[in-house]
Every structure is written in C-alpha cells, then in structure tokens.
Amino acid sequence: MNATTERTIVRPYGDTTGDGMVQVSFTLPVPHDRRAEGAALQLAAKMGLHPANVVHAKAIGDGFTFFVIYGRVSHLVDLSQVVVPERDFPMLTAKEINATIKARLRRRVNVVGACIGTDAHTVGIDAILNLKGIAGEKGLESYREFAVQNLGAQVSIPELVARAQASAADAVLVSQVVTQKDAHLHNTRAMAAAFREAYPPARRPLLLVGGPRFDERDAEALGVDRIFGRGTTPREVASYLVHALTQRRSTVER
C-alpha cells in the first residue's frame, strides 16, 4: 500500500512492478486468417501495446474474429493528474436507502411521477419508477420506503399538481423524452411555476426532471431542484431523494 501512496507515476502490474502488462479482448469485422491476426496486432500497437501477443483468436460467424491480447502498455499513469468527478450526494445501496428513510423520516416517501405535455414516451419515467427498472436495477417501486404513483403519459400540469397535493408528495418526477423546439424546457418552466404558485415554499415537493435532452446544470434556471440526464439509474434518483429530503428536514423543520 505504501508503494502506491508515495509514487505518483505508475504502470499496470502483471507479475512484476513496472512490467506494464495488460490484457484486452476485442472483435474485428474480418474473417479469421493471418491477415486478421496482423490487424489485431496493428490495433494493439496503436493502443500503446508493445510488444503484444495474440494469445487467442477465434472466428465468430462468417466475417468476424475475436482476439485476446496480452501486451506491455507503454503509457504511464500520473496519479497527481487524476480528477474524480464529484457528486454532491452519496450513492447509497437499496438497503441504505430504505434504512435511512426509516430512521430519519420515520415514514414512507411519497413520489409522484409523470410525462407532461404531449410527450407519450414513458420509457424514462417507467425506467426510474417501475418495479422492472432499467439495466438490472429495480425502479423506485421496489423500495419498501417509497410509495410511488406513476401517472403515465400526457399528464396536464394542473392534474399533476392536484395529484401531488392529494397524495402529499415529497417529490415530483417529470420525464421528457421526445421534444421539439425546446418543448421540454417550456414544459419544465411551466411545471415549476405551477408548483410555486400552488405551494408555500417550505411545503413544496422536490421537483426532479429527467430526459436525454436536458443539461444537468440548468436546474436553477428552469426552477427545479434537480435534473437527471441520459443513463440515470433508479438508485441514483433514490440516493438523491434521500439526501435532499433528509437535508431539507434538518434545515426547514428543525
């Protein structure tokens, strides 16, 4: 351990310090023959592997070859130059999420979700809310401590506000997938304004919007608490909700 904390320049480790050995595998769209293996070595060289060994090559179907390469990588890693992107809330496991809500809020968190405007694509909101989830991660419905209402597509803003009020929502999630002429931005501003009008500031539910066309930095400008972009997972949203709601409890209610 000492060795790595002191040194800032490191190389991959095979079986000897500094040997730079790595293993990679890839497929090239060429039939398996000697030329294919030459092509694999050429790619390896361009990836910085020298010397490199094709230790395994196998034809896949008619026009593809799969390779496993072992080789020495010439690149150096400078630990002092590593930048870790900061997330301003901790990622929690499902267990931690449920446990934190139970311990800190002592009640279930009410979440209302919808697609607003003319957008009929519930893919995003369903991925985050439905039990089925996305990419092997279950949606918020799977969490014992979230009470989820997914209103589906083409929900009007007044209806969304009414449903949020009726179910005492802690958070409102809005998804906008398909958009044109910045409809997703207009819809979001209108939604945020409607909630501000309908609620006193301290009672307003958290407003979260998500969709591939949003810029995550625009939250403040659009009047919402958080924006989630492409590739967001349910656990990320759940972790954020736990963070924001427990924060809010300590700042507003105490």
Binding site: I60, G61, F66, H121, V123, D126, L131, K138, E141, R144
Partner: protein
C-alpha cells in the same frame, strides 16, 4: 410418482387442486368481461390490417368508433358486421376507414340481423384461424423435414438492437453458432402501448418493436437459416402488456414458435390492471393453443425482486397457477414453458445444491412441460470472469435437471446488451457443458432423505401453505395485498382498466365461439366449420 425427489403424490395433487380452486374464480371473471384488445384481436383475425396516416391501427379506430356508439360490452363483431351488411361494405378495413371518418353509425343488431352478423363475423374470423392452422401445419412440416435440435435443453438466445434489419443478421449468426431459439426482445415500454405499431421498425429503446412485419421478416430469415443449419430454428416474442391478445394473433399469423406469456407479470411488474390482464391472457392463450405456440412464463422475475431462497415457493405457486390457467385455455403440457431461474446468491453456502433442489422440483412437478431455465442476473456484476463461471454452473444445473429451454446467460449481463463476442463466449460455455455432461442426469440421483430431497419437500410444503392462503383470500385480493413480488396491485387500479367492460347478454365473440368449440385443436375446428 416418486421420481428423484420422492415427492408425496398426495401433496402434489393437493397443490394442483388448490391452484385450480384459486384460479377458477379468475377464469369466471375473465369469461364475464371483454377488453378493447380482445376485440381488436378479433378484428385482426377477421383481416383488418394497416394503420391511419398517424400510425393508429385501423383496429383501434374501429373499436373506438363502435365503443363510442354502443359501448364495449356487446363485443364489436355484431355491430361491425351488421354495419357492413347495412352499408354493403365487404371489407372490414374499409369499414374502419369509413368509421374513422365518422360516416358509420353502429347499433347492436337483433333477431335475423343478429343471426346474419353472427354468421358473417364467424366466417371472417374462421378465415383468420384457418391461416393460423396453415402456419401450424407448416411448422410441423418443417420440423419433420429439418428436425428438432438434437439435444435438450434447447439453447435460447436474445437479440435486441432496436433495428429489425440489424437483428436479422445477428439472429442468423446466433443460430449458425448453435442457438435453437431466437428471442427478439421488445422495445422498453411497448407493453404499455395500447396499440400494436405497424411495419418494419428501425428504432427502439433497448429492444425492437413487436410488429407483424417485423415478425414476418425475422421468421423468413430464420427459415432460410433453418435450411442451412439443418434444424428448425424457433422464433420467440412477447405476448404481454396491454396488447397481449393482438400480439398472440399476429404471432399465430406469422408462425412464431414461442411467446412469453405469464399470468401475472403485467400486473406485478408493469402495473397493468389485474382484470384486464386475466381477460387478455385467457384469449391470448386460446390463440397460442390453437397456433401450437409454446408459452414461456415469467417466474424468474419474482426472484429478481425477492430473495431466491425465501421466495422459492412463490415460483412453485406461480407455476401451478400458470399451468392451471394454461390448461383451462386449451394449452397442452408440451406447450408450457414454465419459468424458473438460477438466482440464489452465490455467496450463500450450498447455493448450488439449493439451485439443484429447486430446478429438480420444477422438473418433477411438471414432467411433460418444456421448462424454461433462466440464467443469473441479480448477482451478476461487472466481474465478467466470475460471471462466466456462474453461467457455467447455471448451465450444469440445467443439464443435470433436464430443463427444456435454456436461456443463455451472458457474462456481461450487468454491463451492456451483449456484444457479438459475449454471445459467442456464452454459447461456447453452454455447448461445453451440454457436451461434457449430456447424460449426467442419469447418474444424478439425490440421496434419499438428503439435502436436495429435503429442500424440495420444504419448498413444496411452503407452496401448498401459500396456496391455501390464496384460496382463502381470493387470488385478486392476494395480488392486491402484495403476495407476489413485493407489489400491491388492487383489482381496481393499474393501467388499461378503462379498456375493460363487463359482457352484456348480447355479447358475441366469433373467435371465442370458434376456439372454445374446437377445444384449441385445429383438426376439430375444421369439423366445426
């Protein structure tokens, strides 16, 4: 009935009787209702095709028009064929176009007009069933000529690019590499669309839309490959979600071979209304029975949300319910791809022994069903090397316990949709195990009174206890209370409830009439005509 697990035949019989008792009220409920999707399926059988310029299928436009005039509870067949007779239109698609333009007023015919509409609608639907029968015979002919895969389990592989024209070469390559069954996974969210998209599609989210044209293109491509590889390569899609009955019809019309069709999946995992689901499912299964399609049920899903050891008996309960509903709809044992999965936490001591006990229990409870064995997903991580090892054990359990259909596990399960090379590595894994341990099941006889037998007995006992509770409580209430998975789904909630109606005394459905009279078998249908 002792087999390898020495199960008590009276306990097994009790489990089946309880499943029937739990399921019977739901069947009665299904018989007392219809849905927009059942009625659209009837129209599809009668030959209504295509969509309006906005992409809304004519079957949707026609059902909506009928519902606006006379409601859904009478079914659409009588109002539609009566209107056709009155207006002198002989093509129901043309009637749909006229109705969409607002130039048709629908009524429920009485007396002689009713008899005429019954006869005419039955003739139109019989023509559709005849096409399904022809496809079934074509499949039987191709299997006779080309043969089934030489070994069990059949190797089931998924393709899912979103673009049917990209799926086709991938599916063909997979079949050439050894896949016996190709499943084209659907676009995320299709199950919640209340219409079936039209035409060949090139864009989907994490899957390819199920459309009649996509079905046709893929089946044709696999026919070509089947001839090349000298075995019949089967094609699978999904009869689930809000359009289950219609997709079942399209599958029958395009000779798909297997369809995902679980009795409770849509309710639990998609929040589709329970009554909508059970009504749609019964009709879809009647179509599948007729088409000779093998259904695949979705018990694996329970284990992805609940603990695979604690919830093992919920899988057994669901299998028994799925079996009951399937038999009631006319499906034969050979058409029941009852699902289960290898989802026990691999860090648990004796996890493999537990898996064997569960897998063997399913095998012995349903000796004539081609069980569908699903790979680990929940405990797969980014460690692809460990994942490949776990998949090897999954494959071994499948071979040892005589599973019928094996969905190939991917070591990259937790990372991305499979790459070409992932699939190749996964297939090599299955083929190694299937080759190395092909007949090991002969030697695999669990010790009498040993761990595996005891565990299987325990799961069966727990299943019986749960079934007793469900019978007391009522299946719909049990679903409403969150007995399965972790979801509470009340019968009055969920999507698609507005598309459900109680049948009136005037209700007529020519497809149900023909299917129920024929008992699902094509030979009898011809006699009935």
């Amino acid at each position: 009935m002792n087999g390898k697990l020495n199960l008590d035949a009276s306990v097994v019989a009790r489990a089946r009787a309880l499943a029937a008792k739990a399921g019977a009220p739901v069947v009665e409920l299904a018989k007392a209702h219809t849905t927009v999707s059942v009625e659209r399926a009837v129209l599809r059988l009668a030959g209504v095709t295509g969509a309006d310029p906005d992409g809304t299928p004519w079957v949707n436009r026609l059902v909506d028009a009928v519902v606006a005039d006379v409601g859904l509870g009478n079914g659409v067949a009588l109002p539609v064929w009566h209107a056709m007779a009155s207006l002198g239109v002989d093509d129901p698609t043309l009637l749909a176009q006229k109705a969409a333009a607002g130039s048709v007023h629908f009524t429920v015919p009485r007396g002689r007009s009713r008899s005429a509409a019954v006869t005419a609608s039955r003739r139109a639907v019989a023509a559709g069933l005849k096409r399904i029968d022809a496809h079934r015979r074509e499949r039987e002919r191709m299997v006779r000529r080309l043969g089934d895969p030489r070994q069990r389990p059949w190797i089931y592989l998924i393709v899912a690019t979103g673009d049917i024209y990209e799926d086709i070469p991938q599916a063909q390559a997979a079949a050439k590499a050894g896949a016996d069954v190709i499943a084209v996974i659907r676009s995320t969210g299709q199950s919640l669309l209340d219409y079936v998209p039209e035409g060949a599609t090139r864009e989907g989210y994490a899957g390819t839309y199920a459309t009649q044209e996509n079905f046709r293109l893929m089946r044709a491509a696999l026919d070509e490959t089947s001839r090349q590889v000298g075995r019949y390569v089967r094609l699978t899609n999904y009869a689930s979600g809000l359009c289950m009955p219609e997709i079942a019809v399209l599958a029958g019309l395009e000779r798909l071979d297997m369809m995902l069709n679980d009795s409770m999946y849509g309710i639990l995992f998609r929040d589709i209304n329970p009554i909508r689901t059970f009504v749609d499912q019964r009709f879809a299964r009647q179509i599948h029975a007729r088409a000779g399609i093998i259904i695949n049920t979705g018990e694996d899903n329970y284990l992805t949300t609940a603990d695979a050891v604690e919830a093992a008996h919920t899988v057994t309960v669901s299998q028994l319910l799925n079996e009951y509903f399937a038999h009631e709809a006319g499906l034969a044992d050979a058409q029941l791809g009852l699902g289960h999965a290898f989802e026990i936490n691999p860090d648990l001591p004796e996890s493999f022994r537990l898996e064997l006990a569960h897998a063997l229990l399913a095998r012995e409870l349903f000796p004539h069903a081609p069980l569908k064995w699903m790979p680990p997903t929940k405990h797969m991580t980014g460690d692809v090397f460990r994942g490949n090892l776990l998949d090897g054990f999954f494959n071994l359990a499948g071979v040892l316990t005589g599973q019928g259909i094996l969905l190939v596990g991917m070591m990259t399960e937790a990372i991305a949709t499979p790459w070409l090379s992932d699939r190749d590595i996964a297939l090599a894994n299955v083929q190694y195990v299937r080759n190395a341990a092909a007949n090991l099941h002969e030697d695999f006889v669990p010790a009498p009174g040993g761990f595996i037998q005891r565990r299987a007995h325990q799961v069966l006992d727990e299943a019986v206890a749960l079934l007793e509770r469900i019978v007391d409580d009522g299946l719909l209430n049990a679903i409403g209370d969150g007995t399965f998975g972790v979801m509470k789904r009340p019968a009055t909630g969920g999507r698609g409830l507005d598309g459900v109606a109680e049948r009136t005394d005037d209700y007529y459905n020519p497809a149900s009439d023909l299917l129920e009279r024929a008992g699902g078998r094509p030979g009898d249908a011809h006699a009935a005509e």
